[in-house]
Amino acid sequence: MDSIVDIAGRVTRGEASAREIATDAVRRMKAGAELGAFISVLEDELLAEATAVDERRARGEALGPLAGVPVAVKDAICTRGVRTTAGSRALEGWVAPYDAHVVSRLRAAGAVVCGKTNMDEFAMGSSNENSAFFPAKNPHDPTRAPGGSSGGSAVAVAAEMAPASLGSDTGGSIRQPAALTGIVGVKPSYGRVSRFGLVAFASSLDQIGPFAGDVRGAARVLGVIAGHDPRDMTCRALEAVDFEAACGRDVSGLRLGVPEEYFAEGLDAEVETRVREAIAALEARGCKVAPVHLPHTKHAVATYYVIATAEASSNLSRYDGVRYGLRVEPQGGLAAMYGATRDAAFGKEVKRRILLGTYVLSAGHYDAYYAKAQRVRTLIARDFDAAFAEVDAIVCPTSPTPAFPLGERTRDPLSMYLSDVYTLPASLAGVPAVSVPCAPTAAGLPVGLQIVTRRDDEATALALAAAWEADRGPLPRARGAVT
């Protein structure tokens, strides 16, 4: 399908109406329904919003950089007047009374929200199989997972149902599904994008970011959603950056670090080959490539699963059946209502993480687990500081394997957690990272190159991603893509 930049250009110039783009998006979302990308298809709302965009154009108003672009939004991001489930029975019928900050920004830029995408329940998962409703399927091979937790947002773009989508990334939930479905995904620096209106999982890690079919499109959406919002006290007042212009920057002379810890046991041989091809192409463009060390990488999974579950156990205490969401009211008073409500509301992985988080925060265990993990988090962040004193970007695989079969890792939570081994460190350090597709494997499965840069330097990551994308050339369409 047409790119974000093409659609916005055509609508702005009057060569296409937002209404006809929206009508086509509805057709595409319906045609791809068996992939399970959407929890809600917003047909009526989308057509009404698109009509409003056309009316603005007819009145001579400026439309913004995403004029008429349908954007699929992860169902953890609040959209006023339509349900936001976070992939959970807890919020199955909940309708947000306000728009998330990023949704307000999308609308102000002329974008239209086309649907709410499937996800692992409360963003806890790496395959989208923890959705309380149904799994999403990988359009390159529907017997395989699309990754998670923002699996539906990735599938929507990879299967050409929407030109752009938003996800959230706590430990890799944008980058890993982007890699596994063959599209571009950006996790911004912590604090670049407001979390106001994002259903909270682990607040010191959660960030919202874009998916797109190409780097320039992702950069444009990032430019729209980034920026200060006083409603999120961790959202910083950074100078605006022209991310799209960065996509045309000359990358020669940039120093790239290849972390040996990421090319170790557990890395699929074909993934390694594809990632090294991309690094070689950047070297041929004049980048200087050298090894770097991130010695605490091996502790990232343990550190993450202590910190993220601790924060989640606190954040999810709000689902008690009082103010919103599911309520189950047996005999036995308030405590019985809390227990019965939460038992019915949460799936197994969510309960597992709430229990783990409660345990590591409980008396007698706090110092040994939670405080310890926070200290190791400092060491992981310092690894990046030391590496970025030597290099401008770190280049590595996004995921150790291509997309894995549905059901393969659902019985063993630790094997699922290890899917995120290459994405967790940047989340813990708060630095930005982009996943951009390499050439696919011989079996046609996508592979992602991850580019991690200094805090607040998304521009360099996007420049490198765009340079590699230009060298790589167009990718084969997903077999399950909608036509």
Binding site: G333, F346, T378, L379
Partner: protein, 94 residues
Amino acid sequence: MDGSVVRHIATLAQLSLTQDEERELGGDLERILAFVAELEAVPTADVPPMTHANLADAAAWREDVVTPGLDHDEAMSGAPRVEGGGFAVPGFVG
């Protein structure tokens, strides 16, 4: 992991678990805790905890001014049970 520990943690987390869940999740918890125990061996004596990625330079301070928020009806719109304009819960005072 001892069932009484799992039950204690579940009580703290306001979760009512079935016996099957208690057994299965207790086993998972034990294996995950054994995995994260690798952190014990990491030297961190002089390392400060990282509580957040950027609290130091976030916009933590702002003018104390009233800004528009949800009105009462909007704020109550998702409540499972409303009585007298407030959130209603089962009685908990004898």
